[in-house]
């Protein structure tokens, strides 16, 4: 009986881990411009358009998945704490107010990673990093993924 319970617990723990990994986000950036480590508050400030230049002075370029994608919805909810429409309206207002350049929105993670890898200073949020030479994962508050 005990081994069965153990197995059950193992599967449960695996399921919980898997569950906890589902909806996690990875912040990636171009090798040039963005630092390797950021605080979450810094990340949020950057993604809210409040901070628009890296420490070295290069321009920050934000790349997000479209809000009609799963990653886009998770991003708006977890990072922006907004619904998808609210996020869009937020950025529309910022753009119209001239306070920040609009982020680049993508349909697939591959497109997003490709964009980030080709634009120095670019920072993006994907569900998981696929390997790319010119990309790196930014550590947020010591973690590589935002849960």
């Amino acid at each position: 009986m005990a081994p069965k319970i153990f197995l059950v617990l193992i599967f449960l723990s695996i399921g919980l881990v898997a569950k906890s990994q589902e909806g996690a986000l990875t912040v990636i950036s171009n090798q040039r411009g963005a630092p390797a480590i950021l605080k979450y508050s810094e990340l949020r400030s950057i993604l809210m358009g409040e901070k628009q230049r890296w420490r070295n002075g290069s321009k920050i370029v934000i790349a997000l998945m479209k809000t009609n994608t799963a990653t886009g919805k998770i991003t708006s909810e977890k990072i922006y704490d907004m619904s998808a429409d609210e996020l869009n309206k937020f950025w529309l207002a910022l753009v119209f107010q001239g306070k920040a350049p609009a982020p680049a929105f993508f349909n697939t993670a591959a497109e997003l990673q490709n964009f980030v890898s080709q634009n120095p200073g670019a920072i993006g949020i994907v569900d998981q990093l696929s390997h790319s030479d010119n990309l790196r994962t930014i550590i947020i508050d010591g973690k590589s993924r935002i849960l």
Binding site: K66, T67, A84, D85, N88, K89, W91, L92, A93, L94, V95, F96, P101, A102, F105
Partner: protein, 520 residues
């Protein structure tokens, strides 16, 4: 009031030009303005729709800079007043029982403009709205264009219309004057020509005006005038011909009437002649007895006086001589008047008998001159105090004419005697001291006849007896001085020669007898 053709043409063209002017100055600019405004509204609306579509796509695609780009799609248009993105927000009351839709201007370009979300079109701007709806936001694109260009276009249209109208007006006036001149002048010329033709002047011709209908009218008019002229000429010729024929007919009628009168006269004269001849023949024998026995009685009385009267006493002898003297006187009167009666009878017999003379070539000038002097000297023998001027004008070109000289001589003698008698009678009238008795005799040759004129300046012949002077026994002379057979006999002699004896007279001024004898 009569309006001339020229005025009518001018009025017509000016009316058309005025109507065109009204169209180009008022109606056309108004319609063009409306069309421009309509097109402009459509254009602005289409632009607003385009911008709205771009905004919708950009928002849907989360291309927020694309939204701005879409809005700036019209930024380079010089007519742009502003373009705004208006957001519709649902506003609830505090109890969330009712809500309203609030229109808020989300973004405007250029930023210097701050339009009200409910702004509408006005004179200076045209405002168009194009709504859009996305999951992010619902709203509308508010696009405002100035109407300066429309106004400028309208002004240009008005200016152009004014210039065109002015041009058309001037051209219209020129055309009107040209038309009036090219229609009115030929029509007036046609009218004047028609008047001249109506007055009988067919020589007038119209000049060729043009090659159009008016020109053809002129040509037709000229042809009509030619035809009329020819017709009139033919009519005149026919009239002349008819007139000549009529004159000839009249002349023939007059001649016929004259011939008829002469025929009647001749018949009458012939009857008279026969009657006269018969009477004369019957009277002649008794008259011979009267004359012979009266002469014998005178001889017997003379013989008685010389032989037997001496046997009587002185007293008886004286008485017997007185009786014998009276008887002789009576017998002498019987003899005298018997011879006179014998003369008349012989004249009557001469009248009735055809001439016994023969025609021979005779110098008529010489014959006339001879008988004129014979008549004059005969009268001088009877009355030595008689005196008269004789004028002769003989045509020396006259050839000898074939006549019976004794007969024509008797005619001339009769006429000369009558003429001398007439001037003698006039000279006897009181208050004729300055009167110079004149007898003129002239001859002349005409185409186919010889004319002898015997003219006197005596008392002339009264009109009332003019038609009787050629009748036998008609005379104006006192009894015993004319038998009334001279002119009658003369008339018959001239007629017998195939000629005419006529008289022209004016009472108190004289008479002219005209003898016409045929040359052949």
């Amino acid at each position: 009031m009569v309006i001339s053709l020229r005025t009518k043409i001018l009025l017509t063209v000016i009316t058309i030009v005025m109507m065109f002017g009204f169209f180009t100055l008022i109606y056309f600019p108004a319609q063009q303005g409306k069309l421009l405004l309509k097109n402009y509204n459509n254009e602005v609306q289409n632009l607003a729709n385009t911008v709205a579509l771009g905004v919708k796509i950009a928002i849907t695609e989360q291309n927020f800079e694309g939204v701005q780009t879409a809005m700036e799609f019209v930024k380079d248009d010089p007519r742009l007043q502003f373009v705004s993105l208006v957001q519709y927000d649902t506003v609830w009351n505090n109890n969330r029982t009712k809500y309203g839709i609030k229109h808020a201007v989300f973004k405007t370009f250029p930023e210097s403009e701050h339009p009200d979300a409910n702004i509408t079109s006005a004179d200076s701007i045209i405002v168009k709205r194009s709504p859009f709806s996305t999951s992010v936001m619902t709203g509308e694109v508010l696009l405002a264009f100035t109407t300066k260009e429309i106004k400028e276009s309208k002004r240009k249209i008005r200016t152009t219309s004014l210039i065109v109208s002015g041009g058309v007006f001037v051209v219209g006036l020129l055309i009107a004057f040209w038309l009036a001149r090219n229609i009115s002048i030929p029509v007036k010329a046609l009218r004047n020509a028609a008047l001249r033709v109506s007055e009988g002047d067919y020589s007038h011709r119209l000049k060729a005006f043009s090659n159009d209908e008016i020109g053809e009218l002129g040509v037709a008019f000229n042809k009509m005038t030619d035809d009329l002229s020819r017709s009139r000429q033919q009519l005149n010729e026919t009239n002349v011909s008819l007139s000549n024929a009529n004159k000839a007919l009249n002349d023939t009628l007059v001649e016929l009437q004259s011939a008829q009168a002469q025929l009647i006269h001749s018949e009458k004269m012939a009857s008279l002649g026969e009657l006269t001849a018969g009477i004369a023949h019957e009277i002649e024998n008794p008259l011979n007895f009267v004359n012979n026995f009266s002469e014998i009685s005178i001889e017997l009385l003379d013989e008685l006086k010389q032989t037997k009267l001496n046997l009587l006493s002185a007293e008886d002898k004286e008485e017997a001589e007185n009786i014998i003297y009276a008887l002789v006187q009576n017998l002498q009167k019987i003899t005298h008047h018997g011879k006179r009666a014998d003369g008349i009878v012989k004249g009557m017999l001469q009248h009735s008998q055809s001439s016994t003379g023969k025609k021979e070539l005779t110098d008529i000038n010489k014959l006339a001159d001879e008988y004129l002097r014979l008549s004059y000297h005969g009268l001088r023998a009877k009355d030595p105090s008689f005196n008269a001027t004789m004028e002769t004008d003989f045509d020396q070109s006259l050839d000898e004419i074939n006549i019976i000289p004794q007969d024509i001589g008797r005619v001339l003698l009769n006429l000369f005697n009558n003429a001398f008698y007439s001037v003698t009678e006039k000279r006897k009238q009181p208050q004729q001291n300055d009167y110079q008795p004149t007898i003129s005799v002239s001859t002349k040759k005409e185409v186919d006849k010889l004319v002898i004129l015997v003219r006197d300046n005596g008392n002339g012949i009264p009109e009332k007896v003019l038609d009787k002077i050629f009748q036998p026994f008609f005379t104006t002379k006192p009894s015993g001085q004319g038998t009334g057979l001279g002119l009658s006999l003369s008339y018959d002699i001239i007629k017998a020669h195939g000629g005419e004896l006529k008289v022209e007279t004016k009472e108190g001024e004289g008479a002219e007898f005209i003898i016409e004898l045929p040359l052949k």
